[in-house]
C-alpha cells in the first residue's frame, strides 16, 4: 500500500510486517515518554540522582550516544573533505545515525536539567569559560546541521521528489553539502572535545581532572580521538545489523573493511594516547592534588580491572583486529571488533561520569552507589526506541544505501553466471 513511497526497484518487507516490527518500539517509546513526562512534571525527584550523584544514567547516555554518533561527522569529513568516494555507500545511513544520536542526546538533556524552560539562558548569559557552554552551543548547532544534511535524504523519497520544488532544492542543497560537512566536522570535533573537557576540568574531582593544552584538558583530545575511532565502528555495526535484519546486501564488504581500517588506526592512536595520559595522571596530576591514584581503585567494585578493560580489552584488542587485513576481511571478526570498540567507548564514558562521582573526595565521605530509577531507565529506553524507529523508517522509505539495488543486480548476475555454467556443463 505504501509502495509508491519506497524507492523504485529495492525490496522492502510488506507493510504488515513493518507495522509488526515497529509496534513494540512504539510501545517502548510511549513508555519512555511517559516516564520522561513524569520527570518534567513532577521534577527530578523522580530520579535516583541526588546531591552527591548529581549526574547519572542520562549523562552517561549522552556522552556515549554522542561518541557513537561521531560516525556522522567523521564519515562526512572523509567523504566530502578527504574525498573517499567509497563512503558514499554509507554516508546517508551515517547521517541518520548522527541525527538519531544527537537529537536523542538533546532530548535527554532537556529532561535532565532542573529548569528546562531556561535552556536558552545558556545562549543568553553564556559563560564562555565553561565546557558545558561549549557543549550546548556545539550540540545545538550541529543538530541543526544534521537536520539540514538529513533533508536531501528525505526529499529524495520517491513520492516527494515528484514535487518539483523539493526535487530542485534537494539537487541544489546536495551541491553545497560539502560546506555543511565541513561545518559539521568543526562543530562535532569541538563538541566531542568539550564533552571530554566537561570532566577533565573538574579540579575538585582529581579522579577526572587532567592537565592539557591551553584551556583544554587532555580528555578533550582523548574524547575526540576515541569518538572519531568508534564512529566508523558503530556504522559498521549498524550496517551489519541492518543487513542481518533486512536480510539484504546493502554495502560492499570493502566499504565496511575500509571503515574498519580507519577505525582501527584511530583506535590504536587513541590507546597510545590514553596510556600516556593515564601514566601522566597517575604519576603527576593526581598526586599533585593530594590524591594518590592507587586509592581510586581500592574502592570496590572499581578495581584496576576497569582500567585494564578500558585500555586493553576494549581498546588494544579491537584495534589489533581491525588493523589485521586478514581478520578484517572476515565479517565476523570485523563486526565483533567494532562491537568491542563501541563497548570500549561506552565503558570510558561510564568511568568518566559514574566512577568520578562515586569516588569520595572528603576523607569522611562514603563511597557512593547509585541505581537509576525506572523513570530514568524509561527515558533512556525512549531514546533507544526513537533511534530504532527513525532508522527503520528512513531505511524503508529513503535511500540509506545507494548501492543497494546495484548490489541486488550483482547478486542476480552471479546466479545467472552459475546457471550458464551449469548449462554449459551439460
Amino acid at each position: 500500500m505504501d509502495k509508491e513511497f519506497i524507492t523504485r526497484g529495492v525490496k522492502r518487507c510488506s507493510t504488515r510486517q513493518f507495522v509488526l516490527w515497529i509496534l513494540p518500539w512504539f510501545a517502548l517509546l510511549a513508555f519512555g515518554l511517559f516516564s520522561a513526562g513524569l520527570c518534567l512534571v513532577k521534577g527530578l525527584n523522580q530520579t535516583n540522582m541526588d546531591n552527591r550523584f548529581a549526574f547519572g544514567l542520562w549523562i552517561f547516555l549522552d556522552l556515549t550516544v554522542i561518541a557513537l554518533g561521531a560516525g556522522a561527522f567523521f564519515t562526512g569529513f572523509l567523504l566530502y573533505i578527504l574525498k573517499l568516494h567509497e563512503l558514499r555507500a554509507v554516508i546517508n545511513s551515517a547521517v541518520v545515525i548522527g541525527l538519531v544520536c544527537y537529537s536523542g542526546a538533546v532530548a535527554v538533556l532537556a529532561v535532565g536539567v532542573g529548569q528546562p524552560l531556561r535552556f536558552w539562558f545558556t545562549f543568553w548569559y553564556p559563560n564562555v569559560h565553561s565546557m558545558l557552554t561549549e557543549v550546548t552551543f556545539c550540540i545545538t548547532c550541529y543538530l541543526t546541521v544534521l537536520m539540514i544534511e538529513y533533508l536531501p535524504v528525505v526529499l529524495k523519497n520517491r513520492k516527494l521528489r515528484q514535487v518539483p520544488s523539493f526535487l530542485v532544492f534537494e539537487f541544489e542543497l546536495h551541491k553545497l553539502i560539502y560546506v555543511l560537512a565541513g561545518v559539521g566536522t568543526f562543530l562535532s570535533f569541538f563538541h566531542q572535545g568539550s564533552l571530554g573537557g566537561l570532566y577533565g576540568v573538574l579540579r575538585g574531582r582529581p579522579f577526572a581532572f587532567r592537565e592539557g593544552l591551553a584551556i583544554w584538558p587532555s580528555t578533550f583530545f582523548l574524547f575526540i580521538l576515541s569518538a572519531a575511532a568508534v564512529g566508523p565502528s558503530f556504522i559498521v555495526l549498524t550496517t551489519w545489523l541492518a543487513e542481518k535484519i533486512s536480510r539484504k546486501k546493502l554495502v560492499r564488504p570493502q566499504v565496511l573493511q575500509l571503515l574498519g581500517r580507519i577505525s582501527g588506526l584511530l583506535l590504536a592512536f587513541y590507546v597510545l594516547a590514553k596510556t600516556v595520559d593515564t601514566l601522566v595522571w597517575i604519576n603527576r596530576t593526581s598526586p599533585d592534588s593530594g590524591f594518590p591514584a592507587v586509592q581510586y581503585y581500592s574502592w570496590k567494585p572499581f578495581g584496576t580491572w576497569i582500567l585494564f578493560a578500558e585500555i586493553v580489552v576494549f581498546g588494544l584488542i579491537p584495534a589489533m583486529i581491525l588493523l589485521a587485513p586478514r581478520l578484517r576481511a572476515r565479517s565476523g571478526w570485523l563486526v565483533s571488533a567494532a562491537a568491542l570498540a563501541c563497548c570500549g567507548v561506552g565503558l570510558n564514558r561510564f568511568v568518566q561520569t559514574v566512577q568520578t562521582l562515586a569516588l569520595p573526595t572528603l576523607s569522611f565521605d562514603k563511597f557512593l552507589s547509585y541505581y537509576p530509577s525506572w523513570q530514568e531507565v524509561g527515558t533512556f529506553l525512549a531514546v533507544v526506541a526513537f533511534g530504532v524507529l527513525v532508522y527503520s523508517f528512513s531505511f524503508r522509505y529513503f535511500q540509506l544505501f545507494p548501492e543497494e539495488r546495484e548490489l541486488q543486480m550483482e547478486v542476480v548476475q552471479e546466479q545467472e553466471k552459475e546457471q550458464l555454467e551449469m548449462a554449459g556443463r551439460f
Binding site: L44, N51, R203
Partner: protein, 250 residues
Amino acid sequence: MKRYGMSIDVDRCNGCGACMVACAVENNIPPAHQGANDRKGITWIRVYRVDNGEDFPDRRSAFVPVLCQQCGEHTPCASVCPQQAVDVDPATGIVGQMPERCLGCRYCMAACPYHARYFNWWDPAWPAGMEKTLNPDVALRMRGVVEKCNFCHGRWHAAKQRAAAAGKKDIDPADYVPACVDACPTGAIRFGDLNDSATAVAEDARKPESFRLLEKLHTDPKIYYRSKKDWVKEIASAPRPGARKESLRG
C-alpha cells in the same frame, strides 16, 4: 577589598546542629520533603560526624561543620557554570549563587569537592501557616535549581544598607555575622575578614593547628578548621580507604 572567611574550632563543636537549623531559618530553606534523605536534602551547612577509626571503648568522635568553602582561587563551581549563575564577588570574596539564573544542570555540584551545593529536588513547601515565619530578606528558590551557602548574603545586604544609612561606607564587623555563627551555642565558629590580620578569624587562620579541607586542590578555601587532635587534622587530606571507618552517622 574584603576576604570574608570563617574559622571553626572542631574541638569545641558538640554537633548539636543549631547552625544547620539556624541556617535554614535564616535562608528560607524548606523542611524536608518526606522523600528526602541525607543525600537529597538541603543543608547549606552540614555537620558531619568523623571518628578516629578505633573501636569501642577507644573510639572518639568529632563533629565537622561543612559549608561552602568559598574557594578563592579558580573556584571549581564558578568556572563550570554554563550561564554565569555563580560568581565570586571581588569586593567580599564570597562565592554567590543566583538561583533565578540557574538552569539546574548540576554541573557545579559535580565540580564541588566539598559537596556544599544542594539541588531543589522538590517544590519548596512549608506546613500551613509556617510560611509566616519566612525571612523577608531572602528570596525563595523554586524546584530544579541549585543553591548553597553565601555567608547569609541577606544579612550582608542588610548590614550594607544600615551602614549606608549611617553614612559609613564600610560595614561594622559586629553588624554582619552569618546565622550559623550567631546560633552556635559553643562559640566554635568565628567569622570575619581574613584580609584584616587583626580579626579573630585571621588570627585563628594563622594558628599552627588550623587547616583547610583538601588544600592541595589549590582552591584556596576561606573556611579554616582547627583541632589539637592529630586524627582530626587528618580529615583535611584525601580519603584513605581502610584507614578510617566510614562515618556512618552524621
